[in-house]
Symmetry: C2
């Protein structure tokens, strides 16, 4: 697969918005700074605001400078702006402008449309693109959509339906920025380049897998969104489903989008239905203490109804009914206002079948655990047993440690990785329509099944009820300690 | 197995000698410093020299002080000396002295005889002990013998015959100080406490095992001994055979001497005969450079015959014909005046069966390698593959690292560990008579099979001919780099 960038126009819808200036333009800056990319990339901001090229260039330069970027690789002559006018579904002007730029710079008609706009206007924008004939071009055309991909199965299907009415799936790049993380990409390399681990990656050798996506932050000012969404929609259905399928999937035939996404879908297909009373714990944080500071409970947050039943914590036990994983529980937990901000996968291997040291004071050996950490520091740890030196005989757990930061310099931000992929046409790290739908279908019913919502103190590890799912998850349990 | 020290007399033959004062007494000091041990241990130096208790105490205190020990735990009232007189085979006086001390201090008759004397006088000393009735006592009696255990199979058998005429095998502690190393003990813990590794410890998952015992030193002033001995006798038959059997053995039923030694013997029994023309490379160092200094060749060393054919380097390929190891080569090399001082075992696992990244610029993945280092720093490393961040897609080898020194404080010296074991009666780390004999029987014939001796420059990694054994062993080959 070629990773060379072809000449193209990168169209950003929502060009005046916060995400564009905070994330997308800095990512583009880092990309066009690379050898040979700058001269091939033309950026066209688009929005209803009545800005000029100059105004957009000024604001863009400001945004980059604020990020500490020195602008040496920034070429204003490659940056343009097109107002969509008040009738946002009339894209004739946009089309004319794109074609004019392509003519002026002798471009082959390659286009990316990045939708950095509210999800509510995804459908109208996609239809407008299609109606204007912007779903096709003399070169390639790609459309980038940020999550959420719908609000439930019905809305996800409707969105996919609209998208597919105008674009083929090969043109669609659904961004889940968790998937841009180097560690997630590396997860696939780690799994499939290290025979030592992959040969043990199954029910014969693994006792359980734990996935923790914890934040110590609350909901910030996003009550309006969050109270309608909740943790299941906000984190489980998308990010965690992605992490989970990457950990559980079979080896793909090659490291290419279709091969990988097929394997991820197969994992979702093999999922055992969740028992809403046995396999799920919902929680909602109450007032507590985070990092030594008193913080309010969820129902006391601004704009949250005082009788809200929205879950800010989800604990789950999943089972994958296939040859590789039958009988191995996958434990998942995610929450707001937890003890720390930590995204970590713990692969817990079987213990030694017997301790030959049972008569030497070590009847119980700890299991080997592989920790894959995405946040706060990306890296890997491996727990193993050694003899501690001297007398008395004593087996102790030690930890191999690897952190990306310790070894490599600049680790690209998620957006940089993902936007570059949209330029070179690599869908590996993007979500397939079927994945999104299957995930909604699998997880969302829990919200209508009257799962009890347990309180937990802000700054804790969630409701103690979670221990009925996974006895190892208690305050500071072993897969948690940062060690 | 109790690790509690019972009251006893620790008799050191060769009490006026260098080893006693440089190694044995400092080790004893560290042991008697431990809680409760000092009051149970009575030290009785013995030698032909006409010393008094006072003289021995003075010299002992001097030796300990020179080692930087502060003597706070040293009790002169527990230290004695007995001259054996010129007739060293008359131990009646020794016996009387031991019994007198036991009476004086109300000791139950537990005795250790540590033979810190030249190997030539082992047989006469052991016979004298037996003839004096010192092979038995009201408590337990143990005899400690330093390597070498004979010079070849015949002499080893003769020595064992003499020993067994007076002592049972359970009373005999054959010290190979390599085996006192924490890492060697830990090797057993590492293998049998970590299911992650042990479940892969076989022909299905391991491609090869490499054992390197390299010294950058020459032979020092020991030409008289070394030229008659050579590397095979000096290192392979004893130290390396021990390391090798610990790595290759089946899981013992428990961590006890008999169980472990039985398994080690089974490995030796399963060894395929060595082809002296295919599986062996002998070498002898020529003048070269070590650490930036010019050093002479072996034949130029003082007292070495100018036509000596003694091997200062041995490279070997061994095969173990059992279910676990059939087809897995064990590569061994040891030498004087090599590029660095390094004792390391490299367990080289199979590669991933296919690279799913073959179309992403990574058609070849490196294999996972577990490095077990005994010298210069004891610890473990594990080589694994990760994606290096950013573009282009690139799989890179990284290394998990664990060093005892980084984690634990005082790591006891080999002698401390071993002498303590002789006090508590733990033969786990000592060599069984049958092991010693089998090892001589297996390796020694090579010396009479006209194996060519290749020159290698001092400061190199041995004769380049070694690459015909193991292609991975070239200058700075991968299992070597300290990383």
């Amino acid at each position: 697969m070629s990773r060379v960038v072809a000449p193209h126009i990168y169209v950003i819808f929502g060009a005046t918005g916060d995400l564009t200036h905070r994330k997308i333009l800095p990512a583009l800056y880092n990309i066009v700074s690379r050898n040979g990319v700058g001269e091939k990339c033309y950026i066209l901001g688009a929005s209803r605001s009545d800005w000029t090229d100059e105004k957009f260039r000024d604001v863009a330069r400001d945004s980059l400078t604020k990020k500490g970027l020195d602008l040496t690789s920034w070429n204003d002559n490659h940056v343009f702006y097109q107002s969509l006018g008040k009738k946002s579904d009339d894209f004739a002007g946009l089309k004319a402008r794109i074609e004019a730029l392509e003519a002026e710079f002798n471009l082959p008609g390659n286009r990316v449309f990045y939708l950095s706009i509210p999800p509510q206007v995804y459908p109208s924008t996609i239809e407008a693109l299609g109606n204007a004939g912007l779903n096709t071009s003399p070169g390639w055309t790609r459309v980038v959509i940020e999550k959420p991909f719908g609000h439930d199965l019905e809305s996800a299907k409707a969105l996919n339906h609209t998208v597919h009415a105008h674009f083929s799936e090969e043109q669609v790049y659904r961004i889940d920025h968790y998937l841009g993380k180097e560690t997630v990409q590396n997860l696939l390399v780690f799994r499939f380049a290290n025979a030592l681990f992959e040969s043990q990656w199954n029910r014969d050798r693994i006792e359980r897998v734990e996935i923790t996506v914890a934040e110590n932050l609350g909901i910030g000012g996003r009550a309006g969104y969050y109270d309608r969404s909740g943790a299941l929609r906000d984190m489980v259905q998308n990010h965690i489903a992605q992490l989970f399928t990457l950990i559980a999937m079979e080896p793909p035939t090659c490291f290419e989008a279709d091969a990988i996404r097929q394997e991820k879908i197969k994992v979702l297909q093999a999922l055992q239905p969740i028992d809403p009373f046995e396999d799920v714990v919902f929680g909602q944080y109450t007032a507590g203490e985070v990092d030594g500071e008193a913080v309010p409970g969820y129902r006391e947050e601004a704009d949250v109804p005082s009788d809200s039943r929205t879950e800010t914590y989800v604990g789950l036990r999943l089972h994958v009914n296939n040859w590789r994983w039958q009988g191995v529980p996958f434990y998942i937990r995610t929450g707001k206002r937890m003890a720390e901000t930590l995204t970590r996968i713990a692969v817990c291997f079987n213990r030694a079948p017997v301790s030959i040291f049972r008569n030497n004071g070590s009847p119980n050996l700890n299991r080997n655990i592989l920790l894959i950490t995405l946040k706060p520091e990306e890296g890997f740890d491996l727990r193993f047993e050694v003899k501690s030196p001297g007398e008395p005989f004593n087996v102790k757990t030690q930890q191999f440690r690897f952190r990306y930061d310790d070894v490599f310099g600049h680790v690209p931000e998620a957006y940089e990785t993902l936007i570059f992929d949209t330029m070179v046409g690599d869908q590996t790290l993007f979500v397939h329509a079927e994945e999104a739908e299957m995930s909604w279908k699998y997880f969302l019913p829990l919200l209508t099944q009257h799962v009890a919502v347990y309180p937990y103190a802000a700054g804790s590890w969630g409701p103690s009820k979670t221990q009925t799912l996974n006895e190892h998850w208690n305050a500071g349990g072993n897969a948690l300690s940062k060690g």
